[in-house]
């Protein structure tokens, strides 16, 4: 029999061999119902598209950029490229033109796969600045009936070419797949680097498969499991689960119909395992809280009674403390009346493992989801180690930690407290960037750039970015991200920036959560014309002041926020102030908001004028003049 599978396409063919038409590999909500593709159909489509690519001149070592939402068609173009020994380069479809151009140009992609007219138009605009690109493939033909560019071709057309090609060279497909080796380049994920241009993380088939195997040892999945594909395809979180994990475990992946129907489709499928960054969990919680606030008297009374109980029980369990019989009994009653229905409304009824990763998650979030019976747990990792490095095990989930390493991963701390990772699943360096590779990969260990420590149970605790661990001018060390996460636990605060490096005390700049604040303002009859107006409203300042004071109580006195300001505009990836996955770009922020920071440290200043440049989606910018108030925090 042929050798055991080493590359993703070989695993795909193995699964197709094993399940054939008996089980669905991937489902897509289209035209109102869930259309399923079995494993054999998945493999057929990949084969036909790969041979089509071959007939268009795609050969071993080539790169193909892929832009669009999570669609089966786009997944099988990625696997098709891998089958020919090439590598897909997924791109964030809502990134601005400059970023998209850099990734496609830097990765020297010879072909680009676009989901629909919107992406094709972006490529056409920058086509002359992309010499390497020879072919653009599109999936949804709508609106492009009159496009007659020689290099533009439909996905079905490519598959027709594939069928013809297969007829002409029968043995070609099996030969190409068999050539695949574990060390071949599987995918290049461009990280949304916090400094400078994104780096192209080269990941081999071996790395992806070994990490998947390690992950499945810690979190077993099989062909009965369902997972949802709603994360951006360019994020390692999606590539790891939607390609590696399903090919190894045989579970089924489901693609929602449209960005606007994700929550509804999530509930329809009721996945058994899901992975998402904190902002998705924050969205779910704040939406739920807004709906709970609007409920009638009885529902609100019941929810407001049982939820705190459930969260206290979850907190005790997370801290390993005993739970009193009375609390346990009332929570059992709560499960029937509130938690069960809540879990069902949010679509988590069948969930076995809900994993959060990519940034720190507030304790309130953890308590809420665990209270309603969702097994939410932390995962820590990075693109450079195919996503998972550590993972909470069931029953040993703790608040402050990100769990022990998963099997096959070693973690140690450098003298400066930096977390180092060694595993078979490490990346093979940054594409065309040996210097950065050398900095990150020293004698087999990957330098994460995160500062951390181990707790007594051997679980990793992440404090902050190594370079952001700052010190006040009197030398005391403080972790901005740690403070920011605590501030973000408040439902009213969407984003927070803690400053204080070389300064007398810690201060903070805050973004309010427009949905929740808007709802709060409406109920109190506070009128407001827009984001800035509500942000600078005295009542908002008092509310946020209360939140900051409450957070200060949980912080050591040296770490407490002495003064804060509410920013006049939301920190936005389009203004390059934060990355796509909402990580702060501190250098850029400190420079742009210098006037506010100065005012924070000028005791006399209670108000500062600020000039704000706002960039619109199509790149145009405009200047506006705003007043931002500064407020002292009592008892800090």
């Amino acid at each position: 029999m042929e050798p055991s599978p080493e590359t993703l396409p070989q695993f795909l063919l193995a699964q197709a061999e094993r399940w054939g038409d008996r089980r669905a590999a991937i489902r897509e909500k289209e035209f109102g119902i869930w259309q399923a593709y079995t494993w054999r159909q998945y493999a057929d489509h990949v084969q036909r598209f790969a041979l089509g690519l071959a007939s268009l001149g795609f050969h071993r070592g080539d790169k193909i950029a892929v832009i669009g939402d999570n669609r089966p068609q786009l997944y099988w173009t990625m696997v098709a490229a891998q089958a020919l020994g090439g590598a897909p380069v997924p791109v964030y479809q809502d990134s601005i033109a400059a970023e998209m151009h850099y990734v496609i140009d830097h990765s020297e992609s010879r072909m680009v796969v676009c989901e629909d007219q919107e992406q094709v138009d972006k490529i056409l605009e920058m086509k002359d600045k992309l010499p390497a690109v020879e072919t653009v493939v599109y999936d949804d033909p709508k609106g492009m009936r009159h496009y007659d560019y020689p290099f533009l071709v439909g996905l079905d057309r490519v598959q027709e070419l594939g069928a013809e090609f297969a007829a002409r060279n029968p043995g070609y497909w099996d030969a190409e797949v068999a050539k695949g080796k574990a060390s071949d380049l599987a995918i290049i994920n461009y990280t949304s680097g916090t400094t400078g241009f994104p780096k192209g993380v080269m990941i081999s088939h071996g790395a992806l498969i070994s990490t998947a195997r390690n992950f499945l040892e810690a979190e077993p999945l099989d062909e009965h499991d369902e997972i949802m594909a709603y994360l951006p395809m360019a994020w390692i979180g999606d590539s790891f689960f939607s390609l590696a994990v399903i090919f190894l475990s045989g579970c089924t992946i489901n693609c929602p119909e449209d960005a606007s129907t994700v929550r509804h489709d999530f509930r329809e499928i009721g996945p058994t395992m899901t992975f998402a960054p904190p902002r998705i969990w924050e969205n779910i919680l704040s939406q739920a809280q807004v709906r709970i606030e609007d409920a009638n008297w009885l529902q609100r009374r019941l929810t407001k009674f049982f939820l705190p109980l459930g969260m206290r029980k979850a907190k005790l369990e997370l801290e390993g403390k005993p739970v009193s019989a009375g609390l346990r009994a009332s929570c059992r009653l709560g499960r029937g009346l509130v938690f069960g229905p809540l879990r069902d409304q949010l679509g988590f009824r069948r969930i076995r493992a809900a994993i959060t990763g990519g940034a720190a998650l507030g304790p309130e979030m953890m308590q809420f989801f665990r209270a309603i019976g969702v097994n939410l747990k932390q995962l820590y990792g990075a693109t450079e180690c195919c996503a998972p490095a550590t993972l909470h095990r069931d029953g040993q989930v703790k608040l402050e930690t990100v769990g022990p390493p998963i099997p096959g991963v070693e973690i140690k701390l450098s003298e400066r407290g930096e977390v180092l990772i060694r595993t078979e699943g490490l990346f093979s360096g940054y594409y065309k960037n040996p210097e950065q590779s050398a900095v990150a990969l020293k004698d087999g260990w990957f330098h994460t750039g995160d500062a951390g420590l181990f707790d007594p149970d051997g679980q990793l605790v992440i404090i902050d970015r190594v370079k952001d661990v700052s010190t006040l001018h009197d030398g005391t060390v403080f972790a901005p991200q740690y403070i920011e996460n605590k501030l973000k636990f408040s439902v009213y605060i969407k984003e927070a920036v803690a400053v204080g490096n070389e300064r007398p005390y810690v201060a903070a700049m805050v973004n309010i959560d427009m949905d929740v604040l808007g709802n709060w303002a409406e109920r109190r009859g506070i009128g407001y014309s827009g984001y800035t107006d509500l942000a600078q409203n005295p009542a908002t300042y008092d509310l946020i002041h209360e939140e900051v004071r409450r957070t200060n109580d949980t912080l050591a006195s040296s770490q407490r926020v002495k003064r804060f300001a509410i920013l006049h505009k939301e920190l936005d990836p389009d203004d390059a102030e934060i990355t796509r996955t909402r990580k702060l770009r501190r250098g850029f922020i400190n420079e742009r908001y210098a006037p506010i920071i100065a005012a924070l440290y000028d005791p006399k200043a209670s108000r500062v004028a600020v000039k704000a440049t706002v960039t619109y989606e199509d790149g145009r910018t405009s200047e506006t003049e705003r007043q931002v108030r500064i407020m002292d925090v009592e008892g800090a």
Binding site: I33, Q35, R267, A288, R291, N296, Q299, G340, P341
Partner: protein
């Protein structure tokens, strides 16, 4: 609260457009249907079957018919009593003229005859709308009752002027006539209403139902996308009268045993109209809820004084009943114009969304 809808995704249009897409609903409805066929015949006493359950089923069928015409097609009708009479008298004539004919066939045929009469009286509905149409249906009500009163042929020249249901068997069991047991009559009535409720539901959710609702909501817009107004309205009249015809036949053969035209007068039309309004216009379930409500309330009123111990004259009871009916109509129209069905729907919606409001 009791609903768990996560994970019930649909992979075919047939599943998505099923009458009860949620598995919990399907389970409850099938259970209720099975119980309805088994439990009452065994458990319920003669009084319960004869005074409550059988009239409820008969009037539910009539309410279903009127709901199709007024609730779904938007054509007001005060002629239900007349169409029921047509059904009853044709059933009487058919069963006496062709004794060998199976009673089920007799019912269906009398329904068809009523449907033809319905079409004739539906023709004016093309040119006139709203109140004027109510007048046209009133004309049919008075004319039909007068016809059955005046022409002795309809009562086989019986001097008493009443029609009585002859004894007929179905599958060996006596279901009509003097010695048919209440349980047998109950099961036949239930079978009819169950089948025709399903038929009504199928019609309403398909092509025909959409044409009706289009005419009801915006007849101009309906016409412009190809709905032929007269054909659609007449179809509604035909089906509605078919249902009322069978209900009329059942009223005599399965419930009263014998009747004269007085049993089908204008008050019957109002009674069925109340059921449809209180039950909920434009809802199959509403017809059942309305029928149950209108049948049970008078019985409850008559028994209430005895339960409470004060004896009240029959006349006063009748007056109170009238006042209660009138008062209830006003109450429902003010509180919930779409009737019990909408209250039921809101209740169900609350359960499905618990603990969220939207």
């Amino acid at each position: 609260m009791i609903y768990r809808e996560t994970g019930q995704f649909k992979t075919t249009y047939a599943a998505d457009q099923a009458i009860f897409p949620i598995v919990q609903d399907r389970f409850v409805v099938l259970l209720a249907a099975a119980a309805a066929f088994v439990v009452p015949p065994l458990v319920a006493g003669e009084y319960w079957l004869q005074a409550i359950l059988i009239p409820f089923l008969v009037y539910a069928l009539a309410a279903l018919g009127l709901n199709i015409l007024t609730g779904y097609a938007g054509q007001i009708s005060l002629g239900t009593g007349g169409f029921m009479a047509v059904g009853a008298y044709s059933a009487f004539k058919l069963s006496t003229a062709f004794p060998w004919l199976n009673i089920v066939a007799v019912f269906l045929l009398s329904g068809v005859i009523a449907a033809l009469v319905g079409i004739v009286f539906g023709i004016p509905s093309l040119r006139i709308k709203g109140f004027y149409l109510a007048v046209a249906t009133l004309a049919s009500q008075f004319f039909l009752i007068w016809l059955f009163n005046k022409v002795p042929w309809f009562v086989n020249y019986a001097s008493s002027g009443t029609i009585t249901a002859p004894g007929r068997r179905v599958l060996g069991v006596m279901v009509t006539g003097p010695n048919a047991t209440a349980a047998a009559r109950y099961v036949v009535a239930l079978a009819f209403v169950a089948v025709f409720a399903l038929v009504a539901k199928n019609l309403v959710r398909g092509r025909v139902g959409r044409a009706w609702m289009a005419i009801r909501d915006r007849d101009i817009a309906a016409e412009i996308i190809g709905v032929r107004p007269l054909r659609t309205k007449l179809l509604a009249f035909a089906i509605s009268s078919f249902y009322c015809g069978i209900a009329g036949a059942e009223l005599v053969f399965l419930f009263l045993g014998s009747a004269e035209t007085q049993a089908f007068d204008i008050n019957q039309s109002f009674l069925v109209l109340f059921m449809v309004i209180i039950g909920g216009l434009g809802s199959v379930l509403g017809s059942f809820l309305g029928a149950a409500f209108i049948i049970v309330v008078p019985i409850f009123l008559t028994n209430l004084p005895h339960m409470v111990g004060l004896d009240v004259s029959v006349a006063l009871l009748k007056q109170i009943e009238l006042m209660v009916f009138g008062g209830l109509i006003l109450f429902f129209l003010v509180v919930e114009p779409h009737g019990l069905a909408r209250l039921w729907q809101i209740g169900k919606e609350k359960l499905r969304l618990w603990p969220f409001p939207h």
